[in-house]
Amino acid sequence: MVATEPRSARTLAASPGTNAPSTGPRKRERRALQPHGLPWILPGLVLSIGVLYFCIGYTAVISTWEWDGLSPTPEFVGGRNYAQMFRDPVFWGAIRNTILFFVITFTVQTALGMLFAVLLHSRVKLGVVYKVIIFIPVVLAPAIMAPVFRQFFSADGLFNGILEFFGLGAITQPWLAQSSTALWVLMAITVWQWTGLTFVLYYAAMGQIDNSIIEAARIDGAGNLRVIWSIIWPGVRGTTVALAMLGAIGALKTFDWPWLVTVAGPNHATEFLGTIIYRQTIPNYDVGYGAAVSVVLLVLALVMAIILQIRGRERAR
């Protein structure tokens, strides 16, 4: 492939003991190659700038409008949508929900993912079956599973039936119909769905840890917990950082489960930024306000990704 040639040339030049070509002809070669590569990337470049980045910019512009999404004459209102958003208790409730949602789901998924990965790295019978069972929820669409969970956690649903079967009838309640429990149910559903992915990534990362280090630790008398804490956990730090980043951005983008299971209720108890954006933009026709929340979501996602990336690098040092 043409685009790899300059890199190959650099690699050759950097390698000791090779007959690297002189700098002058290499520069000329790269210049000659540039027009050949540009046409190949230009459509993608134009598409990404024209569609993706343009629309992000356009969303930022819309966020300064009072607009129903249809009218040909939107009204410019400056920062009013942002001011309204920062005064809106529903927005701050969504931020609180997002933070709680991320902390709980990430912690539980990490713990369970690590646990399953460690267990399945030991020689368990039917390991492949367990892996499939753990991973299946990842590929199930929320739209398919939402009605199941609505029924499962309803007042006369299976979950309460199970509790009653085990003599825990006193704690049965309408889990999705209470502000105090609905968010926790959504977190449980999310953990159920995404633990499989966490497990697979940890499982793969653990496979990269040099076995001799673990063996050396065992010879030095380290027990299972000590090996996990001092060798495996630091060894999969990169994976943990990546999962934290994915989890944080995922929490910010959360939409499908709360919308399909609780419609962001009751009383905004399961409201997230994504549900606010959808409600304001589509049913409420307040496209300007929806765009303002979208811009804030984008900024938060970028900030979160940068912070986690920097923290991950610092720890890696």
Partner: protein, 453 residues
């Protein structure tokens, strides 16, 4: 590779990129007009709506084609939850619908720029006094800035309860007429292992129906006045309405977990599958009274071997005991609008005129029992409708459809989406017990006042 070929490739790629960029820009912000007339008695028109159901629409189209065989009508039903998202971009392109459904109220204002004024059409079809010949509720809800954005096919009314008479008979109970009787009936049903009243209290529209029905019993017209902004939402009549609403939860009338329920599909499925004896539904439920409609509805609720039951409308109980009459309130179910971008406007006008003003067409609308027809003087031909339990159903249904068609109070017409959200918030706070009726009413008034600033 020679320079000429490279330059040519760059130009081609740049051209493709420019096309992609233009498409991206167009997709992000297209507007504009267009459309063409075509001929009035031939052509193909696309009709989009969230309602009616496909089988009902096909009944209309088949009857229309008996009169206009050369006009092909393609009906596309979009689920209500996707309706707004689907229609908005479609109306901005020439490939969207020629005829589209419009909900009364705030949606009319939003879509008015994409629809032709149908006033001349109504005048031509019904004469200068056309307003006297159709339901006023259908005109009020579908007009914006003196422009008749859509013509009403029919209206729906709420304020009634529907009961499964077989369950009442099984438990040996009478229909409740007061709040205390309602509480007692629910206790008796529970004792018999039967669900009493089911409501999807997570959905604003149906909560509002129950609230407005209560308010009509508290003080007729109070809810409508508050909706119009003519009295505050923390008026004593509304506070009393909220108190009674809260009692529906605390006194065991509402099923457990009601605020986690959706009216559709949850509550509807539970009622249709015989788990509950009562439900808050409106005139659109009449279509399930005949055997065919009922069997389909029960099957859709997940029952393998559907058996029809006597579905009967009853008055909302007199929950205050003050003897105020049961109130009914409604809106045009939907209107048909003519897209300004239609490429066959003449044929589209023919179809709209036929369905909304033709007596034969409106009789078909009446007989499907989904809507009360827009044209005055048309009512369902009960002799041609087969009811599974005519002794128990016929009189009740005849009286019900006659009564509700006289209603003049609006259902959603005077409330925008933010106000409806505030009503839902108040309803859920009361149901959860996180607000007193006075607090909920005050908060609602504050919210609505802030929206008006």
């Amino acid at each position: 590779m020679n320079t000429a070929r490279a330059g040519r490739r760059i130009r081609i790629a740049a051209g493709l990129g420019a096309v992609a960029l233009t498409a991206g820009l167009a997709g992000c912000g297209a507007q504009g007009g267009g459309g063409s007339e075509g001929t009035a008695d031939s052509g193909t028109i696309d009709w989009w709506g969230w309602t009616p159901d496909v089988n009902v629409a096909n009944t209309y189209i088949e009857a229309f084609n008996e009169e206009y065989p050369d006009i092909t009508v393609n009906y596309k039903q979009v689920p209500i939850e996707d309706w707004e998202a689907a229609l908005r971009p479609a109306l901005q392109t020439a490939s969207g619908p020629d005829v589209f459904g419009v909900q009364p109220g705030s949606r009319v204002d939003a879509f008015k720029t994409f629809a032709e004024d149908l006033t001349p059409l109504a005048e031509e079809a019904l004469g200068e006094d056309w307003k006297d010949k159709v339901s006023q509720i259908g005109i009020d809800g579908l007009t914006a800035d003196d422009k008749l954005v859509a013509m009403s096919v029919g209206a729906v009314y709420a304020g009634s309860l529907w009961v499964n008479q077989a369950l009442f008979d099984q438990a040996g109970l009478e229909h409740p007429t007061t709040l205390d009787e309602w509480v007692q009936v629910c206790e008796d049903f529970r004792a018999a292992g039967i669900g009493c009243f089911v409501q999807g209290a997570s959905q604003e529209g149906f909560d509002q129906d129950t609230l407005q029905a209560i308010a009509e019993r508290v003080e007729p017209g109070a809810w409508t006045e508050a909706s119009k902004g003519e009295r505050p939402w923390n008026d004593p009549a509304i506070v009393e309405t909220f108190e009674i609403w809260q009692r529906l939860f605390t006194d065991g009338i509402m099923q457990e977990g009601a605020i986690g329920y959706a009216q559709y599909p949850d509550a509807n499925n539970d009622f249709m599958s015989g788990k509950y004896a009562m439900i808050m539904m409106g005139s659109w439920y009449t279509q399930y009274a005949p055997e065919a409609g009922m069997i389909g509805a029960i099957e859709a609720a997940g029952v393998a071997d559907p058996e029809p039951f006597p579905l009967v409308p009853i008055e909302f109980p007199d929950v205050t005991g003050e003897g105020n009459p049961a109130g009914y309130f409604g809106d045009a179910d939907y209107g048909l609008a003519l897209s300004t971008k239609s490429d066959n406007k003449a044929a589209a006008r023919t179809f709209i005129t036929w369905l909304t003003t033709n007596e034969d067409a409106q009789q078909i609308v009446a007989n499907t029992l989904n809507n009360i027809p827009a044209l005055k003087g048309i009512s369902a031909d009960w002799d041609s409708i087969t009811l599974p339990f005519p002794d128990q159903q016929l009189t009740a249904l005849q009286e019900y459809t006659e009564t509700v068609s006289q209603a003049t109070a609006a259902r959603f017409l005077h409330l925008n989406q933010d106000e409806q959200d505030a009503i839902l918030e108040a309803a859920v706070s009361l149901a959860e017990g996180t607000a007193t009726p006075q607090e909920a009413a005050d908060r609602m008034q504050e919210t609505v006042a802030a929206l008006g600033e």
